[in-house]
Symmetry: C2
């Protein structure tokens, strides 16, 4: 039987007995130097001759030296601190994102100190929020860059001071942020186009209700939608892209108008979280349940609509995972010096009538599953 083992802190001696994995003392003993010298060699510190350094490094490698992180953190126990700047709105989304950060922080030992700063909503209070923290001091930043023109220089300032910045939810291009974790909007749009097109032969009409096409995320969703329609030669025709600017009244009004103008409209894709006014309009016109409606994100009001099939699907942008990954990326960079990829683009989950209960079972509070 094959037996492929993995030994982290122990290794097999030739006689087969297990011994503890080597530490700097073992290296020192073999190299006939002191542990101080070994330390200098391993960390490329000054005050050591290149000859001994090379010799020690080779020995360390031969012995399979791996530092004991517990010991290191114990000694260096100066707590690092990161700040998380996110809007309060939309709560269902950003609360989950914060929960993801918290979850990851509880998992990775030793934890970073995390401070949460909340401002009313994107574009309102975000700049001030970040300003206060830059005046103070912290070792890393997680934020959702809303008003790009104002946030971009702040990100620059932070990184120029050596403070790594991780963007979540949306990206800040042309900055040297450490990385970005976001749901991939183009794919979201493409998925919806595919779902709405599936097994239709006769031509039908669909519309998108979005926020603002100058927003990268919103634009990309529409682009992905169009792309997939043509890619699969869909019989669905996109008749309109409605910008509702994430306002309740505007979305309601424009949806009513849309439904009046397209009595045969059979599909709607709401590509932001602003879906409640759209549903209200559909309901009032008696067309909820008659059309294929795909939404974005999941919150309590949506659940019964999906359970009963009045809403076909919603795309869940995995805020919990985003938060967890943002923390992890920052953690590994701060604690281990590991640079993450420049971007992590998550595939959204497709939530349907058939799987929504499983999603709900796994989400509330418990986040990813294994926590208490």
């Amino acid at each position: 039987m094959k037996r492929s083992g993995r030994r982290d802190r122990t290794f097999l001696r030739e006689n087969g007995s297990e011994v503890k994995s080597p530490g700097i003392k073992d290296i020192a003993k073999v190299a006939l130097v002191s542990i101080g010298t070994v330390d200098r060699a391993l960390h490329a510190r000054p005050g050591i001759s290149s000859g001994t350094r090379a010799r020690i490094l080779k020995i360390a490698e031969r012995l399979g030296y791996r530092p004991n992180l517990a010991a290191r953190y114990l000694k260096l126990s100066h707590q690092r601190k990161i700040a998380v700047h996110l809007p309060r709105d939309i709560a269902s989304y950003f609360d989950a994102l914060r929960a993801g950060v918290r979850h990851a922080a509880a998992q990775l030992q030793p934890p970073l100190e995390v401070e949460f700063y909340s401002y009313p909503r994107i574009g309102l209070g975000d700049v001030e929020s970040m300003q206060t923290v830059l005046d103070g001091s912290c070792d890393g930043l997680i934020l959702a860059p809303g008003s790009l023109s104002q946030i971009t220089p702040m990100i620059r300032k932070a990184t120029s001071r050596g403070i790594p910045v991780v963007c979540v939810a949306t990206d800040a291009p042309d900055t040297d942020r450490l990385t970005v974790i976001s749901s991939e909007p183009f794919t979201s749009g493409a998925i919806v186009a595919e779902l709405l097109s599936r097994s239709r032969k006769e031509p039908t009409e669909a519309a998108i209700i979005t926020g603002d096409l100058t927003t990268f995320d919103h634009y990309e969703k529409a682009r992905g939608f169009r792309f997939m329609l043509s890619e699969i030669g869909s019989p669905v025709k996109l008749v309109e892209v409605v910008e509702a600017h994430d306002e309740y009244e505007e979305a309601y009004r424009k949806t009513c108008s849309l439904l009046n103008r397209y009595p045969k409209l059979s599909g709607i894709y709401v590509s932001t979280s602003n879906s409640l006014p759209v549903i209200k309009a559909l309901e009032e016109k008696g067309r909820l349940g008659q059309m294929n409606v795909v939404l974005t994100d999941l919150f309590p009001e949506i659940v019964p609509l999906i359970r009963t099939g009045r809403i076909f699907a919603t795309l869940y942008q995995r805020p919990l995972t985003q938060g967890r990954m943002a923390y992890e990326a920052l953690y590994r960079f701060l604690m281990e010096g590991v640079r993450p990829r420049p971007a992590y683009r998550l595939a959204p989950y497709i939530i349907l009538r058939s799987n929504i209960d499983l999603f709900l079972e796994n989400s509330p509070g418990e986040i990813r599953g294994v926590s208490p």
Copy 2:
């Protein structure tokens, strides 16, 4: 501006200055005892009067004592070892599961020592594989319980010796395994039924190709499929459930026969990984691309078929996540005494033409994303 902080190892003194979080020394100082006594109190060790214990515990609570895990692990550095027993087949699935375990092991510090044991396939060599490890010694077990009748007593034996067992991929009911991490089969079947039914008005026929209906996982998928058909009043009629016993030849032969007998069959759900023979049969009969086909799991041969739309979808059972969660559950139990939920049921991912590339971008080797 609201500022909700979270302090793990530091706390705010009344004057607002940050100090390090209290350790057992601080408790000892306040309680006017030695750190040894504090230790006895905190760990409910013998040799301490219940009076002082209560007093110390109260002080510890008041100070918000949280043990420094780095220090604890440093001192206790006896490495715990877990064994992972999984079949070699189906490699695309179980290799990913192993990778998930490895990934989690690299994340959670200090790592457990992980030994991988592989046997040819479920039902072949699994019992022997587990036997060897029970003879040896380890602190925990991760395994896919295949031949229930034989594995069940071994799980009993392990747990009776105090060795926790985590099941993955499939469950072993009526044992006291610590927990099970698996993809939810009933939901898988339900999702496929919903996908195949969507926006069909005229009656159509569908079939399931499965392994063996006496296998819980396979049975549940068929049950979920049937359930969702009736739940949504689907026009799709399930005409046959074919058992192919995960054999290539048998699946090919039976699919050919199926296609001959149902010339109007428009949907097929392959509920195990054994999809290649089915695809071959479809291709030879010229019906690949003509029908709605939904598969299970993702491996290289499938990718181009989905990209070109010849296969509608595949349900990905998230082996990486399963592996990661299994390790995490075992880790938290062994290291922190945290008991996991009795079962974690994962929602499968729906992979379509529109999102397959994003899945591939995030999967290969990099597993969950943030690792190097």
